[in-house]
Structure formats: C-alpha cells, structure tokens
C-alpha cells in the first residue's frame, strides 16, 4: 500500500486506513470533485453527495474549460493567476485530453484598441500578425491582422474531465458517491452512516447561500455549435467593447461558445439577445459558423463573493469551498489542495480565508 501522502501524479490505488478521517463532500461539481481528490490523496475516507443524478451537472456543466490564467489576468486579480497556474498543472496530470495549445485573443479591426488594452493588463503573450495567426489556426488565415497568443495556456472539456476524475476517484481512491441526495437532511440509513463524517466539505455553489450570506449569483449563458467547415486547435477570445466572447473547440466538430455575465441568479433561462450576441461574435470570427448546427444552449449561475474571488471558510467541522465565479476549473484544484492542508495540517491561507483568522 502506498503512503496516504502520495502526490497527485501517482496513479496507484490508495486505500484509506481504518482510522482515516471520514470526509463528506457535498456537491459533485468541479469544486467538490477536486476536494474529494485532495482529501483522498491525504488518506481520508471520502463520500461525495449531490442532489443531481451524476457528477458535474451544476454550473460546471456549462463551463468553458479554459485553463487560461494569463488571459484571465486582464480582468481578474493576481490571485487568480497563482491559483490558475497551480490548477493548470493539476489538470494536466489528473485527467486525459488537456491540450496545451495556448490561447488566441483577436479583435475586429475597429476594436484594436481593446486588443492593446488587453495586452497592457497581462503578460506571457506574444503579438501575432496575420501570417502567424494563419499558421496557428489555418481556418482563420486572412481574417485577422493582429492578435495576442498566450502559448502556455491549455483547455479541457469540462464534462469529460469531470467524468474522468469521478472514475479515478472511484477506482483509485475508493471514494463513495451518492447521487440524488441532498447531503444534509436525508433520513435513509446510508445517509446516516455518511453523516457521521468527521468533516463536511461544502461545495454546493450558490445553494450554500443559506449559510454564506454574501454569495450572489452571476448568470452565464452558452451554446454549443457543430460545424465541419471550421477547425480550431485552441480557445479563441473575440474582444468587443460590449460583448467579449470565447470559442472553445471541443473536438469532433463541436465548439462551445460563451459566455454572458449577467448580475442575476436566474437559472436555465436563455434570452434571445444573449444568443444574438454570442452568435454574432462567432459569426464575425468565421462566417462558416453561420451554417453551423446549434447543438445545445444552456445557462446556469456562477457563485460569487463581492470581490469575485474564491474562499475557504471553516465553521465548526465544515469547510466551505465556494465563490469560484467564472474560475471553476481554473481555481478549484488549488483551493482543494488548500482545503485539505487546512483540515490535515491546520495550514492557513490568508489569500482565500477572509473570515478565519486562525481562531480554531
């Protein structure tokens, strides 16, 4: 048997010891699954519960899956870069199919000022001209004269990644999953056993607003297109003063287009105006998208704190991991690692622990 302190790059099965810490993770989204992984790697006996029928079906389902800390730096705090670099490294070993093709940022000629502004707000990119854009993405040849290329960034397919991580947790770490369960107030026997957990890791997203009063919802809408006329190797961001949009290739002719960011907590409802904006931007990227098939449209609500930065909060025997906003895949593994070190080592992370000042 390997040590419970095995690092995440190991793939050998880890069996929790008889006296292992019993951890119940509530929520099987990207935060919950990465927490389950981090705690299992420390030897905990982990149960994941979710009210949905499978993992990753909350707002993780609608995520873009861009591992783009430097692009995000344009509008996010430096902390997101730190968490993002750590998380990117995690995903590249934790799940298969994480293309490291970089990201491309483009703008229409009349919005070049936005490209310059973007470049001033971040780093780790190179200016690319039309010829270089054509080398990187042959289908965009001749369509843009200037852009920014972030060579170190990566992307993944969120649904496949979370399915792969779930399998890994079951196969390698003996993590138990209970779906269609609330995690807090069931009465069945199985739940009773799980509820004897030594520690609860609450990763419920916006549903945790019942105890985290400063959480709010930020709605995001997306769509998935299918086209065999265009191929892209990497996420492309189209800058626009009013409507910035990104296109993430999902393989097999599928493209995820996202995402609006609207200050409300309305789930599921997609507006015509948002679709006009997303489709308008992708049509400007390449007119072939005008003939693409609309495979899916969707919307959900990102959980966010007032500064749009994620948090760990420990109250009693519950650790809350929440407020990942639009940085779920970009921040979750880094937060999960911190949550486990908080639980096992009493470690303190002031950058993400706002209300806890080592008082436990």
């Amino acid at each position: 048997m390997v040590s419970p302190h095995t690092k995440s790059t190991e793939t050998t099965t880890v069996y929790p010891a008889a006296n292992a810490m019993r951890v119940k993770v509530v929520g099987a989204g990207v935060a919950g699954l990465t927490c389950a992984h981090a705690f299992a790697l420390r030897g905990a006996q982990v149960t994941v519960v979710d009210r949905r029928p499978g993992s990753g079906q909350g707002c993780s389902w609608y995520a873009g899956g861009m591992l783009a800390p430097w692009c995000e730096r344009e509008s996010a705090e430096p902390l997101i870069v730190d968490l993002g670099l750590e998380s990117q490294a995690y995903w590249q070993v934790a799940v298969p199919d994480v293309p490291n093709e970089g990201s491309l940022v483009l703008a229409q000629p009349r919005d070049l000022a936005d490209l310059r502004r973007f470049s001033r707000r971040t780093e780790h990119f190179e200016w690319v001209d039309g010829a270089r854009i054509g080398e990187l993405e042959p289908d965009l040849e001749g369509r843009f004269d200037q852009g920014l290329f972030f060579p170190s960034e990566a992307h993944l397919e969120p649904r496949k990644a979370l399915a792969a991580l779930t399998r890994r947790l079951v196969d390698e770490h003996q993590v138990t999953f209970r779906f269609e369960a609330d995690g807090f107030d069931e009465v069945d026997d199985e739940a009773g056993v799980a509820d004897e957990a030594d520690l609860v890791v609450d990763c419920r997203g916006l549903a945790a607003r019942d105890t985290l009063a400063d959480l709010r919802g930020v709605k995001g809408e997306m769509l998935v297109l299918y086209s065999t006329e265009v191929a892209l190797s990497r996420p492309v961001r189209m800058l626009h003063p009013r409507i910035p949009v990104y296109i993430v290739p999902r393989g097999d002719g599928h493209f995820m287009i996202g995402a609006t960011s609207i200050e409300n907590d309305e789930r599921g409802r997609v507006t015509g105006r948002s679709m006009l904006e997303l489709l308008g931007a992708v049509y400007a990227l390449h007119p072939a998208f005008g003939e693409a098939e609309i495979v899916e449209i969707g919307a959900d609500v990102r959980p966010a704190f007032p500064d749009n930065l994620p948090r760990l909060r420990k109250r009693g025997n519950t650790i809350y991991v929440n407020g990942l906003y639009r940085h779920g895949f970009l921040a979750a593994p880094a937060l999960a690692r911190r949550a486990a070190e908080l639980a096992f080592d009493g470690a303190y992370f002031p950058e993400v622990m706002d209300e806890d000042h080592r008082q436990w």
């Binding site: 001033r120 709010r216 609207i262 200050e263 409300n264 309305e266 507006t271 966010a304 007032p306």
Partner: protein
C-alpha cells in the same frame, strides 16, 4: 442663480439640486462593467459620488432575479438613479421605469431610449414621448438626450426638470464632441440642471464639461474599465471639483494678444 455664468448654485453652499434633492458631489457614477462589486463599492467611495445609476432591463430576468446585486448597491448608502439602459422602445422604457420605482422605491429614473445600435444614440422622439408618460405618472425623469435645443425644449415641456446631454456616444471615451452645442445648451437653459452624460473618457473631459458651466457629469465606462477603477474614480472626482472651482472662480477671458504676467515697464533696465 448667477446670470453671468448660468450656475444654479451659489458660492459657499455649492450644491446642485435635482428635483428638490440637494446633492454635493457633482460626479454621478454608473455601476456596470466593474471587475467586481467589491471594486465598484470602493470606486464609489473613492469618488465621493452620492448618486449611482443602476441598469435593470437585462439584469431583472424573468422574475426580478437581480436582487443580490441590487441589494449590494442599496447597501452602499448612496442615492440610486435607476436607468432604462438597453431599452429601444417607449413601452420597454416605461415598463422598466415602473419596475425600477417598485424595486428601489424612488421616483427618479434615468431615461434612455436607444435609437441606433452602433452609436447607442438616443431616439429623441421616443425619449420625449416616454418622458411625457413617465412625468405624468409621477416620475422624476433624467433624460439621456443629445445637445439638440429643440429636443431639450420638448423634454422640459414634457415635465423634465433635469437634462442630460451626451458628450459623445456611450462608452466611446471621446470626450465632448460638440463643445459649441453644449455651450449653447448651457446658455439657453441657464436655470435647468444640466449633466453631461456619456462619452467621457479621461478626467480632463469631465473638467472641460464643468468649465462649460455644467452642473454635473455622469460616467461609467471610463472608471469601470480603467486598469485601476478606484484610482480613476479619485481622478475624476478631483477633475470635476477642479472644473467646478474654476467656474466659481470666474476664469479670465481668452485674448489674442499676449498679456505678460510680469509688467514690462522698465524692461530696458532688466539685466543691465
């Protein structure tokens, strides 16, 4: 009011009055597009703004779903001027204004009826019509308009007691596109509170608007999209205060001939 400058406020008690409400800060700030609500709150505090605009059309969703953001705004303790941003018809604007009154408990509304997608310029015909409907219904309307004097007259007769002409198209940051038009508007409506709304990019634009004798400046993108919004909010507050102070100080006249600040009499002796 001072007949020479058209100022609606007196020196010493330098306040501007919008519909019987006295306001000290002449910077009105929009609340959209900030990196986070926390930065928005800090920018508002740094700016000293007492009035913030809030958009409702898109955020309200199907069931007034924007409550948590609106609560953050209410918690800032500033006066809320709800706006009808994104509305393109009279009906949309009126419905949005009614919802705003209910949500924020204020008769104030910044009325936008957008007529053109690219420039976001106001549909002045719809604007006048919506202003008439809303004023009759007890609203206190702050219309986003152009510098057109005839439209301004019609807005006043529709019941508006404040006018908000654009400096330049919304979000363009171009500054005051038509200083002549804005100056003549000031001269035509000496007793009406006038606010330059939209198009302001840098603090010198805001100072210039104040130097034209405008009562206040409303802006959003220039602060929200700055690299450091809090710092930019402070910069605008300083510029607007400077422009206002300059007007109150009665600036010198422009002249063609040089008028040296040091007397030249006896020049022959200098350096001898």
């Amino acid at each position: 009011m001072d007949a020479m400058t058209g100022l609606t406020t007196g020196i010493g008690t330098d306040k501007v009055t919008f519909y019987d409400t006295e306001i000290s800060s002449r910077l009105l700030l929009g609340t959209a597009q900030y990196p986070s609500p926390a930065i928005l709150a800090e920018a508002i505090r740094a700016s000293g703004a007492e009035i913030v605009t809030v958009s409702l059309r898109r955020e309200s969703g199907a069931a007034k779903a924007g409550q948590s953001f609106w609560q953050l705004i209410r918690d800032l303790g500033v006066k809320v001027l709800p706006n009808t941003a994104g509305c393109k018809t009279v009906k949309e604007a009126v419905t949005t204004a009614e919802m705003a009154r209910e949500l924020f408990g204020t008769p104030w509304v910044k009325l936008e009826v957008i007529g053109e997608d690219d420039t976001l310029q106001p549909d002045v015909f719809g604007l006048v019509e919506a202003a008439r409907i809303l004023s009759r219904d007890g609203f206190q309307v702050f219309p986003y308009t152009t510098e057109d004097l005839v439209v301004a007259e019609k807005l006043l007769s529709a019941g508006c007691e404040v006018l908000m002409p654009w400096g330049a198209p919304i979000g363009s940051g171009r500054g005051l596109n038509n200083p002549y038009g804005l100056r003549s508007m000031r001269a035509h409506f000496p007793g009406v509170p006038l606010v330059v709304d939209a198009g302001v990019g840098v603090p010198s634009h805001a100072a210039a608007a104040m130097e034209l004798g405008y009562d206040a400046v409303l802006l959003n993108t220039a602060v929200a999209k700055a690299g450091d919004p809090v710092r930019m909010a402070r910069a605008f507050a300083a510029a607007i205060a400077a422009g206002r102070e300059a007007v109150l100080a009665d600036p010198m006249e422009v002249r063609d001939m040089a008028a040296p600040s040091t007397p030249v009499m006896g020049r022959a002796f200098v350096g001898s």
